[in-house]
Symmetry: C2
Subunit: 412 residues, 2 copies
């Protein structure tokens, strides 16, 4: 049984296709989310159906996999049963791949006022917020109040923060400017706050600097060494005491393992990750594996980063191990191969670091486009995403500028 | 000033493009919804971005139009001001085009338990409901309980009810059946309840019968002469006393003018429509026009139906009248020209009635496809809608089977 249908869980299920096992995938959502493009949902470029696919559609070709929609509420390691809000599910082997969530480091003001960008719902809420705020300023006569409503702070200078800041600045300056002839771009601020002294810490220094310059050209104010101490609904206070008038705060500066980790009754590592053996097994419980962001796997002394390639490689490794174990073999150690990383800064600009290759600017952007388009999960999504990207590129237009109010239903 | 950015209001704004006036469109949503395809959102075929366009994008080419996002809360006819939840807006001429809403005829059980299909949010809520229910039955051992959860009743045999019932039955029988190998289609019921003794009352009798047969072939149980008396969350009771076990009720059997009508302080007509002169002016208030579903315009003795062609023609007429009035001319009477009606029953089947032409089955379906594709509001949407339709047609696949939980933000 696999808990979590993200990149780790789905890759593991696919790896078990030809193993003599029945696979049951459990997730609280009925879809797999292509998280690298979530910021494009938030910036009104893509629709939800273009970055998410139903899990059942993805596992249909496997033949030996089924799905249950449920939230994990506990793990009974002795009786070998996964507890969920819908009932208990017995397992022979359990793979925990429930991913990560935003980490506000116990700061209640952040948890209350900052918006996350990890789930589909958070992407849609952020899209609604940006569009509603710009729309609402049309009614506001007071210039200071308008400036506050038009100031968006992205906290965290990792790839998600960099991509979101670039996309948001482009959305407002290129697209919304056409919608709002009276909008004074001098009243708009997009801030990118990073506590350390450079963006994209995992990248080569030359690429970090290229990213910073590129963001600034796009109108993003990059603030380095800016540690957020406190947030209200109208401001950010920095650790140094400085207070900034900000209407919307997006938090991308911290992630921690999902809450499922705490249900295991083991001492968690840094970032609430679950300690695992070299074989990705839970120590003392050879039938339980932990993979993806939730797993605290190490490469030598260093914990592996929470990245999709790590998750997918771990999923593939564990699928092979389970295949071996049911054939009475043993578990093998996991070894991570770094394929490189990349981040896009918007139109015509990205940074990429693949082995010894370093790309920035337009070549980096072409590389980013290609890798992401090839990896979008289905052929149909590829066509639709390509059309939307081309539309945006040619016409400086974001097609999905819809403020959809919250709608609710009472699912069983 | 125009209140409402539906087909009536938008057509009126477009008709005023070359008039020496400033147009202000006011709507509670920031988008124009292509309502004829809303049932395709509800049946997981299209994404919101494909059936809705931002109002600001649509009015950009007009040059003399602006937009305000607000909900109408009153009309001060003496002081010539539109009251909204955001503030007051003065007008010289006012066009009320706020459309219609579901009418439950004062039946509290209906209002509480039935789902509507007029707004984008309702279409998304219905999609969530259908997908969640089918998913949830995977946990249910009790056959009767499963049957109840898998019974969907569409109330109302007009075009919306017919289209929704056909699309829902196809979604479950062709698409979801592949996702759920264990789903027993014998436990699924899609009912279409109509109080009168035939479907599609406005169509030719031969077409009505063709529609009924086509729906039955698609697995829809058509119940004629079935008047709903009462609804609970697990059943429908008919006027004759019969009780049917039903898990989901969709209400398309009644519409009434929007609540803005009641704010005018005039006696409303049947279906809460606002009485108007032949010129579509509010009697005694020549600066106020009412168009679209909200307007109780008559053709001879008969009230005009709540249809898009009526709304668009009224919008065009009023735009011309206002153009004449600002040039010191007078108002002209509105005359409706019926272009015909059509309804689709699903894959390969539709009925169309255009002048003396009557089409059903496959030819009707081709006509329906063509007319709707040409009329989808933008070129980009046309491409995307066409891809999704082709995908569905070729692969019996509905791409957007995502259960998106309610997400909320606090817009200003």
């Amino acid at each position: 049984m696999i808990a979590g249908a993200g990149f780790a869980g789905l890759t593991c299920a696919r790896g078990l296709k030809n193993a003599p096992v029945d696979v049951l995938l459990v997730d609280r959502n009925n879809y797999h989310l292509f998280t690298p493009l979530l910021y494009q949902v938030a910036s009104a470029l893509l629709d939800p159906g273009e970055v998410a696919r139903p899990v059942r559609e993805l596992i249909r070709p496997l033949g030996n996999a089924d799905f249950r929609l449920a939230r994990v509420t506990g793990v009974d390691l002795e009786r070998r049963a996964l507890k969920t809000d819908r009932g208990e599910l017995p397992y022979d082997y359990l793979v925990l791949a429930t991913g990560s969530q935003s980490d506000y480091f116990g700061n209640a003001s952040l948890a209350k006022h900052a918006m996350g960008l990890k789930q589909m719902e958070e992407g849609l809420a952020l899209r609604n917020r940006v569009l509603s705020r710009v729309e609402a300023t049309q009614w506001i006569g007071d210039r200071e109040r308008r400036r506050n409503m038009l100031t968006f702070a992205i906290v965290g200078g990792g790839p998600t923060g960099v991509e979101m800041a670039g996309a948001l600045s482009e959305l407002i300056r290129h697209v919304l400017k056409k919608d709002y002839p009276h909008l004074d771009l001098g009243e708009v601020r997009v801030l990118l706050l990073e506590a350390e002294d450079s963006l994209l810490a995992t990248f080569d220094p030359a690429l970090r600097e290229a990213a910073r310059r590129s963001l600034q050209r796009k109108g993003v104010e990059v603030m380095l060494g800016a540690r957020v101490a406190d947030v209200t609904d109208q401001s950010i206070r920095l650790a140094g005491g400085e207070e900034i008038s900000v209407g919307t705060v997006v938090w991308t500066a911290g992630v921690r393992g999902s809450e499922v980790g705490a249900l295991l009754g083991v001492k968690l590592l840094r970032q609430a990750r679950v300690p695992v053996d070299k074989t990705l097994q839970l120590p003392g419980h050879p039938a339980v594996f932990v993979i993806g962001d939730l797993a605290g796997a190490v490469d030598g002394a260093n914990p592996l980063p929470m990245l999709i390639p790590v998750a997918m490689q771990e999923g593939r490794r564990v699928a092979a191990t389970i295949g071996d174990m049911v054939r009475n073999g043993g578990a093998s150690a996991f070894v991570y191969k770094d394929p490189g990383t990349m981040a896009t800064i918007g139109r015509n600009s990205a940074v990429a670091q693949l082995g010894r290759v370093r790309l920035s600017g337009f070549p980096g952007w072409v590389m980013w486009l290609t890798v992401h388009l090839v990896n979008v999960v289905s052929f149909r999504s590829r066509i639709l995403v390509l059309i939307n990207w081309a539309w945006d590129y040619l016409f400086y237009d974001r097609p999905i500028r819809l403020v959809l109010r919250a709608y609710d239903d009472h699912p069983d």
